[in-house]
Symmetry: C2
Subunit: 348 residues, 2 copies
């Protein structure tokens, strides 16, 4: 087992100084052609690669991006990571991940862990618990230490930083309007509690769409799910709630769900109640994942373009990291990614 070779060892072998080796390898004009050749040949032979850690320490720059997400087994977040990874690699950065599991404390711990020199900046989506508690001190602290943050999707308006979001309000409005245009007269929404801001915004979009089209707002048609617990493991409860919704409102002919799972559950319940999709009931979901594409019937959804969000977030972060200008007034931008209504089989 041969350890990785260092400058020092090369210097010793060739009987020159460490500085000479370093310069020779970087093709400095200070070094004669002869020595350069000699050193470079030797380095190539022993497959020399500079040690990243030493470089990081010297340069006070790790060329690594930290990404903190609530969970990874989730199509949207996977897509975002994919996007981040793509541009990060292209621009010479690595990606290190931390999972908060929707927990405030894990989010804090993970950030502290990475902030101590391991990374140059963060890309993150806020955990549910943090949103609920509205405790954002850790974000401010990291930023005050000169470590930039880019938030995506689940952001906090109170925090001044770069953000990448979709226009949840407009997108929801567009989706519901689509249902109205398709002839739906009684449209229900299955959404989250209001502390999840994306859920709240989507609900508002729903309301505005109804209002703009002079349709009545019926509070019993608004089902707010408490998903503080992991719904993946609580499907039965979810389906019961939805079934009750359908039974209480027999006229429902359209459903807008703020995520894939809610939409699929609605479809499942509808099937159970012998409601035909899309003839008797049209459904639109949010977040374009694998489920929508492969469900039967395949689900019409508002696609968020997760990969694009990741790419954009990475661009923003790296731009900031590599921006040399020492301006006093820091400026932050919020990029809005356009959503797309992907029409499949659950709408006419």
């Amino acid at each position: 087992m041969k350890r990785k070779i260092t400058l020092k060892q090369i210097a010793k072998e060739l009987d020159v100084s460490i500085s000479t080796v370093s310069k020779a390898l970087r093709n400095s004009a200070e070094i004669s052609e002869d020595t350069k050749q000699k050193v470079q040949a030797f380095a190539k032979l022993y497959n020399y690669r500079p040690n990243n850690i030493a470089l990081s320490l010297k340069n006070r720059k790790t060329n690594t991006i930290g990404i903190i997400i609530p969970e990874i087994v989730h199509h949207f977040f996977s897509k975002v990571i994919q996007g981040v990874e793509t541009v990060a690699n292209k621009r010479g950065y690595n990606v290190i991940i931390g999972l908060s599991n929707e927990s405030f404390s894990k989010e804090v711990i993970n950030m502290e862990m990475l902030a101590n020199g391991s990374i140059d900046g963060f890309i993150l989506s806020i955990s549910k618990e943090t949103l609920l508690m509205q405790d954002y001190h850790h974000f401010n602290e990291t930023m005050s230490q000169g470590m930039p943050i880019v938030m995506f999707d689940r952001v906090a308006n109170e925090i001044q930083c770069d953000k990448v979001i979709v226009d949840d309000f407009k997108s929801a409005k567009k989706a519901v309007t689509k249902l109205i245009e398709n002839g739906c007269k009684s449209i229900a929404i299955i959404t989250t509690k209001d502390y999840i801001n994306v859920g709240r915004l989507r609900t508002q979009g729903y309301l505005e769409a109804l209002e703009n089209n002079k349709m009545p707002l019926t509070s019993s048609l608004i089902l707010k799910i408490d998903d503080s617990l992991d719904m993946e493991h609580n499907l039965a409860a979810l389906e019961n709630e939805i079934e009750q919704l359908f039974k209480d409102n027999k006229t429902i002919d359209g459903v807008f769900a703020v995520n894939e799972l809610y939409a699929l559950s609605a479809m499942k319940v509808a099937r159970k109640l012998n409601i035909k999709i899309p003839e008797d009931l049209q459904v639109i979901g949010f977040t374009d994942g694998v489920l929508s594409k492969h469900s039967t019937p395949s689900l019409t959804t508002v696609s968020q373009h997760g990969k694009l969000m990741g790419e954009k977030a990475a661009e923003l972060l790296i731009d900031k990291l590599e921006d040399q200008t020492e301006t006093e007034e820091e400026t932050f931008s919020t990029v809005v990614i356009e959503t797309e209504l992907v029409e499949r089989e659950t709408t006419i």
Copy 2:
């Protein structure tokens, strides 16, 4: 913007030496109670945290695990990452990810990138292209430099390292046997080309199950898909092939598919051809993902326990990293994770 505080700054402020500060913070007996109190209070006030990079350089240990996977937008791999992350964090390690996108060169580049000091060891699943080319020099090189590797799922038998796999052969056999017990007389398999070893093994399991039950082996019932291209974006081609299979073999009453997507495509084609599931056709897939759970009818699958694989892989790697004993003969273990046949609605 205040930079992170260092030992040197604390030392300067308190008018003691750097060594004293370091020792005081680590509660060394060399330092008087007075100075300890003073230093610790000051450090707490300024929220001192040791710089990870400096520690890594000093200790020649990064406490970071590198994980290289072919793609991340994939339920199984996400699960594995989740597993790795869980035990890594528990044992004080970070996780850094690299995506090969099923490409040999990206796999090599990514590994070289990380191997230069950024991480202590690898957990990886081999890319399709690498498997096809059978060029494993980069694995041997990294290991010869003292960096341990743990492979999972898609492994190379030629390489001596720790491995975490499922018994693809046995699992496939079990699944097909199940179909036979359920009364299927003509069972087709939808699998990959043989260079993907997991595909090959599953095919062998299929064959053995038939043989053991004295059932005829019909070559036309074996459909080997060339998925060198990304099938997610080539669904139509896949479905055509499957449709042809059904049309050529009208007697088919059972399908074993080596992954979720193949299984779902088979179900889709069956629906198109008005074949009832599970009455006329029973289907079993491999890899327990979200699709299986939420499809209609929900798919009976062989679950691989991705998270468990990740956990096990991380345990193996960290154990090796922290094993102090300087044994000459290195020993490698291969852990086989038991699969589980999750029976849902596509089987009787």
